[in-house]
């Protein structure tokens, strides 16, 4: 009986959380059509989320692309398929690793930063101050960040995809002895528009989720340093899990036979 009660409470708590997140998301999106807007905050969020994430995106994807090339070469050698390195690196980076790894890096870098910043604002009554200054926190804090992340993520993932492929190219040409021209031609010939579209769509969804979770957990932060810490941890975990779950759903939608 007690076990059932525990399971029941957990399920109810989970459903309540899903409901709260959904309402938060709907409210955030609804502000898109209702002024006032805060272009300065939006521009700042674009720079913070987009421009300043470029180094970490570049480093993550170049090493992943290089490692992927080595793995495919070594694995392919077992059945004499070493030549498919350019194609598999391209499809692996564009369809899966580019969006997922950039999404997770953004969850680590941006979601944590947003959650900690907003949670600190809540703890120090800055959110209350915003309200007394006739400024809706959802419009001023949440919408600019969520919108900026949704818009800028496809650019980051696009850059990440290219750098990842270049990582594979460098390893393929410099280490594994591929011909440079052939490697590039095989990469370009093999990729289809759907691969790129799926990559960029995933990126936009992951950006939305990452920023939304940062804002949601920040706004619901408890008191004190512990509250800020919990909000930050919860935001990063939730964003990471949602990104991986959304990746599965989107892959199913784009590529199921």
């Amino acid at each position: 009986m007690n076990v059932l009660a525990i399971i029941g409470r957990a399920v109810l708590a989970m459903l309540a959380s899903i409901g709260r997140v959904t309402l938060f998301a709907v409210e955030t999106v609804s502000h898109l059509g209702r002024p006032p807007y805060y272009p300065r905050e939006f521009a700042q969020a674009l720079v913070q989320i987009g421009y300043f994430s470029l180094p970490v995106v570049g480093l993550t994807t170049i090493f992943t692309g290089g490692a992927l090339a080595l793995q495919i070469y070594a694995g392919g050698a077992r059945f004499s398929a070493e030549a498919v390195v350019p194609q598999i690196v391209a499809i692996g980076m564009v369809r899966e690793l580019g969006p997922v790894l950039v999404g997770l890096m953004i969850a680590a870098r941006v979601t944590s930063s947003i959650a900690a910043e907003i949670a600190t604002m809540k703890v120090t009554e800055q959110i209350d101050a915003l309200i007394t200054l006739s400024t809706n926190p959802a419009k001023y804090l949440t919408l600019p960040r969520v919108l900026a992340a949704t818009i800028v993520m496809p650019f980051l993932v696009g850059v990440g995809d290219i750098i990842g492929i270049m990582g594979g190219y460098l390893v393929g040409v410099e280490r594994l002895g591929f011909n440079a021209g052939t490697y590039l031609r095989n990469t370009i010939d093999f990729l289809e528009p759907l691969d790129v579209v799926s990559s960029l769509t995933k990126a936009a969804v992951f950006g939305f989720l990452a920023a939304l979770m940062g804002c949601y957990f920040g706004m619901r932060s408890g008191r004190g340093a512990q509250g800020v810490g919990r909000a930050t941890k919860g935001a990063v975990v939730a964003a990471s899990v949602l990104i991986l779950a959304a990746n599965f759903v989107l892959t199913e939608l784009f590529f199921s036979a």
Binding site: M121, Q126, A129, T132, L133
Partner: protein
């Protein structure tokens, strides 16, 4: 001007307000006193709509404001009449001082050109005793006393009709507390604003108050002119003024 009738508020099992009745008249300065954790800040936040009362009614100039919804033009108009100095100043870390002060003047219905908003911010900073050199600093670069002054400048930037002060002298040394008290008194008088202050600092009470209200056990135990506070005969007020451990206010809460 501001009327609270039978206001109740609980957070889960923690009952904070159990039927507050209070009237604040236009142009007067009321100070609400009471021990820590008695719900003084919650009471202020109920008036501003930051906390929703469970029961009771709050009206300003006869208009019921208890259930104004966030984001509506009525609520924006209501909030535009208020200025608020928060306990920890609540300055926005990411903005320089002048943009904190001119926050309301840079956006929304009271928006002014940027240069004009900056001029007003600098004038308000001067009014609270800060030089124009402070304008471009960030809040983290200021001392606690300076942050309070910036918070005060922000509260008066639009010359509101009603100003709330939440523990304005907490954490300040006695000299700086005296400076803040004098500023509050002076500004409220010259602007003709209605002021509501919550504090447990008796020097603030004596410097700021026209009227005093004692909040204890979730209710207003006594209210009256500040001049009658010492001789009112209310045991809670007497204990609070004396700072005594003996009396109806429990020391272990």
């Amino acid at each position: 001007m501001i009327d609270l009738v039978d206001v109740h508020k609980a957070f889960g099992a923690n009952t904070v307000l159990t039927g507050v009745n209070l009237t604040l008249r236009k142009g007067r300065s009321m100070v609400i006193i009471g021990g820590s954790g008695t719900g003084k800040s919650v009471l202020l936040k109920c008036v501003l709509g930051l906390v929703q009362p469970d029961r009771g009614a709050i009206s300003v100039d006869g208009t019921d404001v208890t259930n104004l919804r966030q984001g509506t033009s009525e609520r924006d108009a209501f909030l535009a009449r208020f200025g608020m100095l928060f306990q920890g100043s609540a300055l926005f870390d990411s903005l320089p001082v002048w943009q904190n002060v001119a926050f309301r003047l840079l956006r929304g219905s009271l928006k002014k050109p940027r240069a004009e908003a900056r001029d007003i911010a600098i004038e308000k900073l001067r009014r609270v005793g800060l030089s124009s050199e402070v304008a471009d600093l960030f809040p983290a670069e200021l001392s606690g006393g300076m942050q309070k002054r910036v918070g005060l400048a922000r509260a008066i930037a639009t010359e509101p009709e009603i100003i709330f002060f939440d523990e304005p002298t907490t954490g300040l040394d006695p000299i700086m507390a005296g400076v803040i008290n004098d500023l509050i008194r002076g500004i409220a008088s010259e602007m003709g604003s209605t002021a509501m202050t919550i504090t447990h600092d008796m020097s603030s009470v004596r410097a700021i108050a026209d009227e005093v209200a004692m909040l204890h056990d979730g209710m207003i135990q006594w209210t009256g002119p500040a001049s009658e506070m010492d001789s009112c005969g209310d045991p809670c007020v007497a204990q609070f003024i004396a700072g005594s451990a003996e009396g109806p206010i429990e020391t272990v809460r």
